[in-house]
Symmetry: C3
Subunit: 679 residues, 3 copies
């Protein structure tokens, strides 16, 4: 996978820089200015054609490539490479009119109409055929165009249409289930249809989980989520097949949404790309949104097995789709972009080049804002272009991390079904909580699939991985037995592949490894906080843990007035297992408590920070064949001093053991040999 | 009604103990263990087949009874009696596929699909026929089986499908209305269709209250609720007719949901059973959920005119369908179960015997949890089995109470229509508020229908009974005139049978009896609290009361800054009426204020507590022909001392005037003659 | 427009007084009492027949006018004039049954059924024809009836059915768009369909903004709101055409909902009436609801270019459709009614005469309540009748105001689309916030359309007028250049007629006039408050303002810990432009801050209060050809003294320079010549 991005990167001669470019929104005379300003800003790559289907094929079967020809030529003449989109993300109105049966339908039976984007049923044969035709024509026409550098399949697969409940989807779901289970007996077993008299006697009876009277069958729902993700994956593969057949020389990718997209399994889509590219947007309401950014970046890297990746979209400032679209303050965009770089991005791109004046995203920021070039944003965009030029040598180097955090879309889906012990157990909340504790310790981790290779890691974190397959559980057990460290959060390993509860006592798949047995779950009340033995607090969850080999590290306070429903019983345990150690956390500790716990775990596991930096300062190291690079990002409002030695690449000055990083600023140091620990 | 339960109870030779048993969920080899463990726990009755339709009739018209035959035989061999369900609660998928027109439809026109349970339209002839067929076959086959002890009709009628708006329902609604009103003139009068130009000129124009543009006609809505409840009652009667025809010797019941089910009139269904059985689940978010339990139990008893009843379902610990499914702490299940017993239950049963590992209720607790027999829950279950054996003699005795609290589903429906004076006026909130005040005074009451016999009571409570029929109002008036006491809450008696406002001044039907006239309603603002003359506070409601014969007991504070919109006017009045006394409460007093008021009312009415016990301790007395039994349940975290004399049935030791009840524990005393006041 | 109301007023010989009268709800014998009590209360005008269609045409094409004949005659005999409604607001059930295609359909495709009111699609030809027929018959029958004084078209156009998404609506929408844009190229440009591949190639592809997968096209949505408002306007015009053709001598109006109705452009409907009439209801949850009343009254006046208007509906006490229907306290109804009079109403009417005992509005207060004549409400109703008689001479006089506040439904629609910078930017919130500051300064303003004539004003206020047409912007610019003062709120002028962002920097259309350029928007976080330089606070919004000619009056605090994202930058600016002055407010100041700012603006602009009165006291002046009238309304709980000289019309006593107005009371003074400043 790495080679494809290296190929692109070498062609660009540096870090990719640019954004989505939608020239069809603008009169012809604006295009020349666009190219001129792109050059001024240091842009070397733009994504073209994401929403161009209605222009390329204005009427069914009639293609008009004139506009795109001109744009491609103009960009090439300006030295800008093109990431050419397959244009399938938004079928034109004529498609919906001709194929109303291809419009998506909600669980309530509401048909969704065209007028926004992605208004198609993922299982629709009509869509697949129409999309295939336009992709074939497009690829055929531009495969040899000198501007072409990358194929961009679709756009944010499934962001708006992942789940469709129409009759076509029902039929496709049945075919998927047949493939998975072979016969109805298998289906009935997997779905546990003996309960509530749901046994299926004929495939025609099987439906997507449309609106029903009471709680829907959870495995039916889980399988429907899997099927839906697979349906999109199949469309992606169909496009990839065309591109690879007609234009084998050029890499392809699609822009994944990392944790912003619950409904599509990002690992599976990533595997079907030549390299990983992602879109990442800050959660405006989150005062620590930069930590969410790091998490997403570490997931992007984890999706590509640690290889560099491409940041396909982020924003220069506010977006338009959140309740309050908080703008970035001066310097924030630069910190965000360079944090992505620090965590393995080899390209920094935006949605979009020029801010729209009409349409649904006109209030979404862009590289060139409504106000034009005499704006703070434009000055920051050109400044960043210069920074990236100065950092060109970083590309291709790999981020150092010996910690893995297991992340799984299947577990996410299962955890947030209806009728679970507590609606306060939210997957991203828990993953972020663990991640944030690690982040504040300065430790870099990869977010990886539970089935990925763990050997070579020192530590594996497992926040509330409810659904765990036998093989994934065994893989973690082997890792620990072989000397690794694993820290596991509550409600992990309790169900199997089909989301059936593992009998014999919680936490099911991890019981032996953890050396504990849980007598029962005691979710906490809304906003309830209980005290732990060391005075810290915990929320959301507690459970009655019986050590069966493990030692108790910390208990719920032995006082019924504050210790909660399992006062006095273990909250955190430690278990020597084989040559390694496993830890179990039976609640949601407060931030300080979790950080202290993970600090101890890291110490035992021999995991260290990239550099010793003050709170609120981020330090990450990338290592290339010839040098290592220490990134230090100061998210605080005060100047700080950090240990570093080498060359400050942004200023070109030497750093001798200690560097000042001013409030809000970023330091990137090419380190002297020996400054950083060799791995 | 009493005889049927006595017949069951005598057969079991003690208090019924057990739960729902769904063997179809488990492999055959588990069944033997099930029976062995049931015996170990003291189980003597299990409910079988509630969700077995898809097994009994796997294909339309093809019946397979092998599994059930074996289960029945096995249970019988193990000495476990069977409450055999009619299996109609969840039609199999083949039924929905064959009869899509029988799927329920929401007010918005959304068809609800199979995949959970109760996915049928209550007015569907196809459902009624299909259900009738399976019931006939089932009853015919097992009517003479030696394990059979009770028939269990359907399951929680209407819990998920009470309201259907399909065309079939529309037709059935019209038939029901024709029956009620004879002709359209009657309908037009009752519905007040002169308003908003709604006059109906043809029966075909009459519809269920489907989604509409503005506020729907309130009497149309009310009648639709009545019709819907009656439609389910008709299905129940249809099943009962089959059972009584084919198996006349065995009693039948259905599990009512007490206050958990708003849409079905529990009194009407109860009347169509041989004895009352109910399901009762705690509201996890309610820190005083045990008071809600008592209320439901007192309603169960009121449904059966004071006779013993059967607790068909409750939970050993957490359920799975609330936002946060709080588990029971050690001892809580026992207190809950024995509180039901105290309030008249002659059987204690659970959903379900063995906890599922798949399906929608896999996180619902059970008698035998996921963790097996080495769990706190299992130890409590076996312990309770022993307790119930020790209390066997209590069965058949009746709870002492000379207070009635009027409860009415029709009034509930009317009170919570759209476009009423305030959405903060919630029926269950007010009923619970009054009930809780009484509970905290240690006084036991029956929740009864307003039309039930009141003579013999000392006191009748009427919390906000908005809709009151003429005859029910007259019945209460007679009760007071004949020397009874009645305390009436605000917004009572204001509308008639058709929810038309009674002209001439509020509170309509009760104006003369109460000796007041209300000039106007003054609902309070959200979260507004006003002061009363004695320093207590009140919320939700106030009104301008003019005494017309009544004396003012307490006024709103005579200070516009805190007394609210009717500062200085009466809040609580007292009126001598005939030989009795009536009281009116024109607001929602705070808990202390209401308790003090009811204490005074009880004192005047000569109503006393079962025993003098500290706050948070529950005391109830059951009286049999030969002995009385004092139940004392300590819900507090401290040991208490209570007055009691006789034999402690759980320990077998003597109690001489005073007993210690430890924190969380329960005491049941067979009282010496003369210890408790004779009634 | 003025003449029509004068004609009515002269006929009544005084201020109109009365309410909706629905005799069809009551037995015949009640009617005589009604007329007797109307006379007792001083009622001189009632609205009849609003919901009478089902009575007038009980079966399709069969008309029965007997009831209405009798009512008209009876009222006439009693000296009560009639405002006769066209009866089209609620089609009878037979209409829906015969024309199911005329039932409205939601964006989700849910068909809404009859059973409430206004259940018709505004674009339905079947409705237009059926309504036309009944109006023709009605007008033809009563055009010469001596009781007839006014035609009342429909009722609250579009209150429940403004937006319909059915196929008929889709077709009508296309016709409207063709008319607006001529061809698809125009449509594609206006809607910006180049974005997201939405380009339309065939009119058949164009749809109302039905439920879709992502954010709908904003101009499509805006045009759909415009079309929907126009569809209702067309129905109104159709009725008006019939009335004017058949009964040219009698004025017509319809009851507008002022700010209560977002979906219908009140200015357009007002223009199609002979004079303005409005319904005004207090927001019960608003402790300062009387300010909202004033705002609505000032809008009613603005809709009629300053002429007197008719208050067609308000309530004597509580309504029935709010969450908590707070009743009016003694005196509040009188203050409300006289405040309307003060602000230009020449008639004071209610919904409704006699309170219903059945139907959706039975809990809505009325002139004659459930309790009858021995009620506070009835005493206040008769008292007010006497007050109005004493104030008869006021009618026809005009309210003094030299301030205009620009109000626009189009801007409202655009501002509250999805995907704007912040959902906290709510149009009515901002309009009310500015209005309230002015109200508290005692200054009267007219709410007028941005396209209305501004010359003659001293000051124009522009709270957040996001969408501004070129001509409206030019009009304001000219006003300022010619010496006027204008104060403009943030996010004004940023988009054009099609809601496209005006390029070149915010605030677009007003940039030059204001002498500022905004580098970027910085919406604030939820509940975030920032400090301004003078210690006041601000919420919701901030932006980076660069003065380009303007001077900075007040900045965000120059302290990043409290000054927010643009700490130290301008918050309020002042710009001399031509002969006038413009001011810009780049945030939402707190109430005190905004009042202080507007006080300064008013001072510079030479705008003064009607009278110097204490806080919480309202003073407004009407001026007739022969005298001026000072209204003083004391909304406080304390007695106050105010400067006034003339005759107290309510008591008939002289006022010499100073008058006491007791808590909750109202003073109306016919002023001595020279007492009030001549205009």
């Amino acid at each position: 996978m790495n080679d494809a991005l290296k190929q692109l990167s070498d062609r660009l001669g540096g870090i990719a820089y640019g954004g989505d470019y939608n020239p069809e929104q603008w009169p012809r005379d604006v295009w020349d200015e666009d190219v001129r300003l792109m050059r001024e800003a240091g842009v070397n790559l733009v994504t073209v054609g994401v929403f161009s289907w209605a222009f390329l094929e204005p009427r069914p079967g009639e293609y008009e490539f004139g506009l795109l020809d001109e744009v491609m030529d103009l960009l090439h003449a300006g030295g800008i490479a093109v990431d050419l989109a397959t244009a399938t993300a938004s079928p034109p109105p004529w498609f919906s009119l001709r194929h109303p049966e291809a419009l998506p339908v909600t669980a309530d039976g509401v048909r969704l109409w065209h007028g926004s984007r992605q208004t198609f049923c993922p299982s629709s044969p009509a869509y697949a055929q129409a999309a295939g035709r336009v992709v074939e024509r497009l690829v055929d026409r531009y495969r040899d165009h000198p501007a072409l550098a990358l194929w961009h399949l679709h756009n944010e697969w499934g962001n708006h249409n992942a789940h469709c409940f129409c009759d076509t989807s029902a039929q496709a779901f049945r075919a998927w289930l047949r493939e998975r289970y072979g016969d109805l007996d298998g289906l009935n077993r997997a779905w546990g249809t003996a309960f509530w008299s749901q046994r299926y006697g004929d495939w025609a009876e099987v439906m997507p989980p449309r609106a029903t009277t009471a709680v829907a069958n959870p495995t039916q729902r889980l399988d429907y989520w899997r099927f839906s993700s697979d349906a999109l994956l199949a469309l992606h593969r169909r496009e990839a097949e065309i591109v690879r057949r007609l234009a084998p020389g050029t890499p392809l990718t699609t822009n994944l949404l990392v944790t912003l997209e619950k409904k599509v399994d990002g690992f599976a889509l990533a595997d079907a790309c030549d390299f990983v590219s992602v879109d990442q947007y800050l959660t405006a309401a989150d005062p620590e949104a930069h930590i969410g950014l790091s998490l997403d970046a570490d997931l992007a890297r984890g999706m590509g097995a640690g290889a560099p990746w491409l940041l396909m979209e982020h924003s220069t400032s506010a977006v338009n789709w959140q309740p309050r679209n908080i703008a970035k303050t001066p310097g924030q965009m630069r910190r965000n972009s360079l944090a992505h770089l620090a965590r393995g991005a080899d390209g920094i791109m935006y949605f979009q080049w020029r801010q729209s004046t009409a349409g649904a995203e006109k209030w979404h920021s862009a590289m060139l804002p409504h106000g034009g070039t005499d704006t703070t944003t434009w000055r920051e965009v050109t400044g960043l272009g210069q920074d990236l030029a100065a950092l060109a040598e970083v590309r291709g180097s790999r981020v150092e991390s010996d910690v893995a955090l297991l992340f799984d879309w299947n577990a996410w889906w299962a955890l947030e079904m209806d009728a679970t012990p507590s609606r306060d157990v939210r997957y991203l909340d828990l993953v972020r909580h663990w991640y944030e504790a690690l982040w504040s310790l300065g430790i870099t981790c990869d977010l990886v699939h539970p089935g990925s290779e763990l050997s070579g890691r020192r530590l594996v974190l497992v926040p509330s991985l409810c659904l765990t397959t036998d093989s994934d559980a065994e893989s973690l057990g082997t890792f620990v037995r072989d000397g690794g460290h694993a820290a596991v959060g509550f409600f992990s390993g309790v169900t199997d592949e089909n989301d059936h509860v593992r009998a014999g006592g919680y936490p099911g798949a991890y019981r032996d490894m953890l050396g504990v047995r849980v007598d029962g779950f005691f979710p906490l009340r809304e906003a309830e906080a209980v005290r732990l033995g060391d005075g810290s607090t915990a929320t959301v969850w507690s459970e009655l843990v019986e050590p069966r080999g493990a030692e108790t590290l910390l208990s719920f306070a032995d006082d019924p007035t504050c210790g909660g429903p399992v006062a006095g019983h273990p909250a955190i345990t430690r278990h020597s297992y084989g040559d390694g150690v496993s830890w179990y956390v039976a609640t949601r500790p407060d931030a300080d408590g979790l950080r202290e716990f993970l600090a101890r775990v890291c110490e035992e596991a021999g995991v260290t920070a990239a550099a010793e930096v003050p709170a609120g300062v981020e330090a990450v190291r990338r290592r290339g064949p010839d040098a290592s690079y220490l990134f230090v990002i100061n998210h605080t409002a005060r100047d700080v001093s950090v240990p570093a030695a080498g060359v400050d690449l942004l200023s070109g000055t030497a750093v001798d053991g200690k560097a000042e990083v001013r409030a809000g600023e970023v330091l990137v140091v090419r380190e002297h040999a020996g400054t950083s620990p060799e791995v």
